[in-house]
């Protein structure tokens, strides 16, 4: 609860949308929108106040740096160099001289102000359409000073939403597996960080192998696989309290867990006698249900956002392919028919697509297809990559990539990468150690 940010919509001005700027996110954007992020202005007293608490010389600039970085990495915006700015931040926030911003080719402008009020951080910001010389949006937030990074992310989300018409994905976190050590003896820990790589924290010590963490819809719980006491089992972890428990009482390996969209169930595989089937467990009444019943390997289940369907991976045809069924296990249909093997299907939060990993002729691809298997589109090819996870707005995929080792078996690394659904804007997400199995949280400020 302390994490919640109070949003005061104190000067929200409804805009009549006539010819104001808009950014199309449905296509690869080769001409990102040039925009100016003016540093948030701050009075000397507030500056000193925050410097004392946060050890940051100018929190206004720090917050606008976060906004700038988020907008740049989205690939949709091109934040202009601050050195070219002609107008001072404090004055720009009151009344921008649009000619000046026009001169440096900014089409949009973000201005704002930071105040230190009653031990709280108060931030207001405005988004301006430079060409139309109009204010597009104005918002203010009040929160505890420690939340300053989140304020930057929330401003980024608001700007993204106002300019693209879709929710953003900046005020989010990534849970992943941190990796260290030689390839034959990797030490793996659960780790969590902000979407931009800040605030990295380790959640386990590395004493046992851990794999495939996934958030619940509220992003407060994580389900994952742990080899605690050499018994690979699905666990549930409460991020705030740190409490962990085994999910269910299965006489063998459980793996590949995910939450249902309402967060009430965990769906996973249970392996026994060389067969892996899909099960669910209700977290409230602990009732376990068997969903698939087939002598093949059925794994990597993922629910549709309405909870009515499940996509999963099975080798019942002889090789790994993607299937869709109703949530009770009936009506199983194979949907992948292209060349190669298909794995790790994940249903888009928008409901219309399934992202997957494909192995074909020695190469690994991340791709998407419609939920009936049509319209397959491969976004990226590499030596090894897998396990895509969707941004909460369904526009970006995060996944991990491993390198090929040299003839001596050296040079192994695993890193997180993201790519837009358009197939553009591929970039590495920096982590303090090697990393794999990323899972994207929902939008935290909703």
């Amino acid at each position: 609860m302390t994490k919640k940010i109070l949003i005061l919509l104190f000067i929200l001005i409804p805009i009549k949308a006539n010819a104001l700027i808009e950014v199309d996110i449905t296509r690869g954007n080769l001409n990102p929108l040039p925009l100016a992020v003016s540093p948030l202005s701050i009075d000397e007293e507030s500056r000193k106040g925050f410097e004392k608490i946060l050890k940051k010389e100018n929190i206004g600039s720090e917050i606008s740096n976060i906004v700038e970085n988020n907008l740049r990495t989205s690939g949709l915006f091109n934040p202009l160099d601050k050195k070219a700015f002609l107008q001072d931040p404090d004055i720009a926030n009151l009344k921008p001289r649009f000619e000046d911003w026009n001169l440096i080719k900014a089409q949009a402008l973000i201005t704002g102000k930071v105040n230190y009020v009653d031990d709280k951080l108060r931030v207001e910001f405005r988004l301006w359409d430079v060409l139309a010389a109009k204010e597009m949006m104005a918002l203010a937030f009040t929160t505890v000073p420690n939340n300053w990074r989140r304020v930057g992310h929330i401003i980024s989300d608001k700007v993204y939403e106002r300019l693209t018409g879709e929710k953003g994905y900046f005020d989010t976190r990534i849970i992943y597996v941190s990796e260290e050590g030689p390839k034959t003896q990797r030490i793996k820990k659960l780790a969590i960080m902000d979407q931009d790589g800040a605030n990295n924290k380790f959640l386990t010590l590395g004493n046992e192998l851990v794999l495939t963490p996934r958030f619940n819809p509220a992003s407060q719980m994580v389900t994952y696989l742990s080899y605690f006491k050499n018994m690979p089992r699905v666990y549930l972890l409460d991020i705030e309290t740190g409490t962990q428990e085994v999910v269910g009482d299965f006489p063998g390996m459980t793996f590949a867990p995910r939450f249902s969209p309402d967060g009430k169930k965990i769906i996973m595989s249970f392996a026994k006698d060389g067969k892996s089937d899909i099960y669910t467990m209700d977290l409230e009444n602990r009732i376990v249900e068997k969903i698939t019943n087939h002598p093949s390997i059925d794994t990597s289940p993922s629910y549709s956002p309405d909870g009515k369907y499940i996509t999963f991976n099975s080798d019942r045809s002889g090789y790994q392919q993607i299937y869709v069924m109703k949530n009770d296990g009936s009506d199983v249909k194979r949907i992948s028919f292209g060349n190669g093997l298909y794995g790790t299907p994940v249903w888009s939060p928008r409901g219309d697509l399934i992202a997957f990993t494909k192995l074909h002729k020695g190469k690994f691809y991340i791709g998407v297809m419609r939920t009936d298997g049509s319209g397959e589109r491969l976004l990226t090819e590499n030596y090894y990559q897998e396990a895509p996870s969707w941004s909460p707005n369904g526009r970006v995929l995060i996944f991990y990539r491993e390198t090929k080792t040299n003839s001596k078996g050296e040079g192994f690394s695993a890193k997180l990468w993201s790519i837009d659904l358009t197939g553009y804007n591929e970039r590495q997400i920096k982590t303090p150690t090697d990393a794999s199995d990323p899972s994207w949280s929902s939008l935290l400020s909703n």
Binding site: A271, E386, D437
Partner: protein, 163 residues
């Protein structure tokens, strides 16, 4: 005539390429692959340890397969004989996959491979009470190489003493 000439030139270029590339890779391939793989199943002994004299601890599999080869069945019969002679020893069968598959599927595949070994041991009189199956998927390779030979060593089920 013209075609002939073109072909001849092409051949010359090709031969030159082959000679060059052979220089770069020949040694490695010769020492690595020769006599160590049949199909894509590992038949070497590099990584093999022994539970007792003449009792290898592991069996190997083809890509995406969990079928036991003739050599694997022989190894497992030796293990079964050894287990019958040592009735107090229990074992863990650790199933593994190579790195060329998705993590979750490989966990299941490792389990399937270890179970193939378990089933065979059971047909030779070893009680299932003495056998635990544990899959590591692709998490614990023995060879960190990114080549067919390394992968073949990693596709394995290893019988480990539990007590």
């Amino acid at each position: 005539m013209r075609l002939n000439k073109i072909l001849k030139n092409t051949l010359l270029v090709l031969t030159a390429c082959l000679v060059l590339s052979a220089c770069a890779t020949k040694k490695e391939v010769a020492t690595d692959i020769k006599g160590q793989m049949q199909g894509d199943v590992y038949t070497g002994t590099d990584t093999v340890e022994y539970l007792a004299d003449g009792v290898p601890d592991r069996v190997f599999f083809a890509t995406n397969e969990s079928i036991l080869t003739t050599a694997s069945r022989e190894t497992l019969r030796a293990q079964a004989a050894w287990l019958r002679k040592n009735p107090n020893i229990n074992v863990v069968l650790e199933g593994h996959a190579d790195e060329r598959g998705t993590r979750e599927y490989n966990l299941a595949l490792g389990e399937r491979r270890a179970n193939a070994a378990k089933d065979y041991l059971m047909t030779y009189g070893i009680s299932s009470d003495r056998i635990t199956v544990l899959s590591y998927g692709k998490e614990r390779p023995v060879d960190s190489g990114s080549n067919p030979l390394a992968w073949s060593k990693n596709r394995r089920s290893v019988t480990v003493k539990a007590n």
